[in-house]
Symmetry: C2
Subunit: 449 residues, 2 copies
């Protein structure tokens, strides 16, 4: 990618030396994504000038790759006529993405400049629920009537294919526009001219409906290695397609959501740097509050067993290390289970197998940690053997219990219809904290009092 940096430098030099004609030629040679990236390097006052150097096609495509701030900046500065050109050329799914990030007054201006049918369509798309198939599909697909010959199909493809987002899977419909089959372009070009599309198509079609959730759709793409997937309405009529490039964004988005849930955050689709302090606070405070109040249980356990701490003062020093180790052990287990369930590798029916595995792992880890802790206290800390044993045995037991809890809670959450991702580090830690302290004080009572 270093070549690209060099190229950008050359383009900037052309711009600074006012060699606009050369800049225009070079710029229009670039890939749309690289064109969009180039704008990030430009000072604000030059962006409009450079944008106007792009040809009509390039302008629309580069525009769809730009981030929302830059899109807004450009829309604010260009004429109604230029807006019309962009909206005309852009694929419908990109237009909808772009509009959903734009302030309302600019959305109105853009819609005013789209022609009647496009405007209707955009409004319809904006009404699909977030994360539904409808919200990520595109309508620029190739469809053939089932009775066409290959020759006619190819003619139609040559005539209309340029404007389609993908032509590599073509869709076959009947007179009622009901989806009947799929014909990959590779089948079409390998077929004889006079064959009938109906006889060549794959008629066991996997399709989704406009309201299906994008996460399930991503699973279908991953399972079947598709590059596009048809979307049908309630009557089975073909209304759009979803392409694999949008699915890669979905996969990232769904993973981000899991990362957020697992860190006790309300999920958000906005970029961190573009999210206000107020929104960030709002996404965090609920779980912090819930966890703090649950933490009260630990506090009351400590209060109740205060007499143990009072009689053996040294014990208080090891509370944090025990709850910490327990929390970490539990988080490790819960993370693996949550991830395994998200990838479909672990099912509810595996719960006994998982629990038995975790107990054994817990015994191994617990024994090692307990032993090292014992050695450390023996050598470095000035505590009695009985205190040392209390702490080290607690350590071993806590690890086993934490592993068991860490693997069980996510599966229980799922069984109860919750997202297992909430049963990750923070909640597991809070639960394990309380249980660790109970174990600690009871072992102490047994060995020391």
């Amino acid at each position: 990618m270093d070549d690209l940096d060099k190229l950008y430098d050359q383009l900037l030099e052309l711009l600074n030396n006012n060699r606009i004609k050369e800049l225009k030629d070079e710029l229009n040679e670039l890939n749309s994504f690289d064109q969009a990236e180039f704008f990030e390097l430009l000072p604000d006052e030059k962006k409009l000038l450079v944008f106007r150097l792009l040809t009509k096609d390039n302008a629309a495509e580069a525009f769809s790759y730009m981030d929302s701030d830059l899109q807004e900046h450009i829309i604010k500065s260009i004429s109604d006529n230029e807006i019309r050109n962009i909206v005309d050329e852009m694929y419908i799914d990109d237009t909808v993405d772009f509009l959903s990030e734009l302030p309302a007054n600019l959305v109105t201006r853009v819609l005013k400049n789209a022609d009647e049918s496009k405007r209707k369509l955009i409004n319809q798309f904006l009404n699909y629920p977030d994360n539904s198939a409808g919200s990520i599909m595109t309508i620029e697909f190739v469809q053939f009537h089932e009775d066409m010959t290959v020759k006619r199909a190819m003619e139609q493809l040559r005539a209309t294919g340029v404007d389609k987002e993908t032509i590599y899977n073509c869709y076959v419909v009947n007179s009622k526009r009901v989806l009947m089959g799929i014909i990959p372009l590779r089948t079409l070009i390998l077929a004889k001219d006079d064959e009938i599309v109906k006889n060549l198509m794959e008629d066991r079609v996997i399709s989704v409906s406009t309201l299906d959730d994008q996460e399930e759709i991503a699973e279908i793409f991953k399972d079947y290695n598709f590059i596009s997937l048809p979307v049908v309405d309630k009557e089975g009529r073909l209304v759009g397609i979803i392409t694999v490039d949008d699915i890669m964004d979905v996969i990232d988005q769904e993973n981000t959501e899991d990362f957020e849930k697992m860190a006790a955050l309300l999920p958000s689709e906005d970029e961190y740097l573009k999210t206000s302090v107020f929104t960030l606070t709002k996404n965090r405070i609920l779980w912090l509050m819930v966890l703090m109040i649950s933490g009260t249980i630990s506090a009351s356990i400590i209060s109740k067993y205060q007499y143990v701490l009072t009689s053996v003062l040294a014990l208080s020093a090891y509370m944090t290390i025990l709850t910490g180790t327990g929390g970490n052990s539990g988080s490790q287990a819960s993370t693996l289970i949550i991830r395994g369930m998200a990838l479909g590798e672990i099912e509810m029916r595996d719960i006994i197998k998982v629990l038995w595995k975790e107990v054994r792992v817990g015994i191994l880890c617990g024994a090692m940690l307990g032993f090292v802790n014992f050695a450390r206290l023996f050598i470095f800390d000035d505590v009695s053997l009985a205190v040392n044993l209390t702490v080290s045995i607690t350590m071993a037991v806590v690890v086993v219990v934490a592993k068991a809890i860490g693997c069980t809670l996510p599966m229980l959450a799922k069984r109860l219809g919750f997202d297992p991702a909430i049963m990750a580090g923070p909640l597991i830690t809070t639960v394990v904290d309380a249980i660790s302290l109970l174990i600690y004080f009871n072992i102490a009572r047994l060995l020391l009092l």
Copy 2:
């Protein structure tokens, strides 16, 4: 997908009633992924029988979708001749995936049954480093000589295209097999017969080299919305292509790795249920040990300030709730920053902006948590106002400090060349534990002693 379950039931019924001919017809109609899934429903003793009902093409393709246990079961049971058919038909990247999961003795048997040139190729692929472009590429691509006409190119495509993994991007090379350009199939079918490929191709080609890391390659796919990407050797010669379906697996794999690192686990590519207790323990114990030993710092802080706890006994009850809230606050911040950096949304240069944001979020969250904590202690707990103030003020301060640490450490880790993902929940919690206790005891000294 309920239709599929019904279909599977029908197939099982055909099998149980020994209506093998019908089963064969129905089964071969299915999508390869669905065929592979069907085997999961079969008792072991029926698998071989059903596998032999698949046509040669279907057998190889369904085989490449099966999970490694099933592949192993089948390879063990079939004849050398059948193995040869599968290896012949399978794409090279799928063959390599499959071999890398197989026990050594079976790998030898498979290689013995591949022809000389295929065997050489497989060995070469098995030597590419894990996670490199070489290890995920395929060699079944379409290449044209730069001087060909469109007509000849289309003829060649029709003659050889059937066996290629994708024909939708064709690659143009010179006489030395150096990659000169890309010509999408859509360009080709829209072009006139007598045009020269060289004049139609896109000559600014983005390519990767065999040793490039798969994570960077996934970024390129996401940025440019590619469906395939060429791989070249040191001399710029085209040696393979990577297709988008493999990239979706890479994205999942890289995300899993981040989840694991962020939960203080050594990353592993194996499925949880297939990983031995010993390996699971090995992947966990290192970090647990490191974190436990770091936890010693907390223990010695508590020892050092033991006199504070002794003089105001009630303080010990709130240690866990304070370190817990601190840990959760810090983990939230670090997760957002780590994820933002992984998605390229946050750069090193944003550190001051990020820190300032987190401090403000910390002040808002800290103030609310401190206030609620104050009210709770005031109403429910039997503690003096001074103790209440000590705990509540500490709570507020700890949240601010934890947010600041949580956002700074991942960025520092990156600056120092480490993966920021290690600076997640567990490590942040351990650091914040120690600092929270220091703050707690010093505020206590100030207000209570």
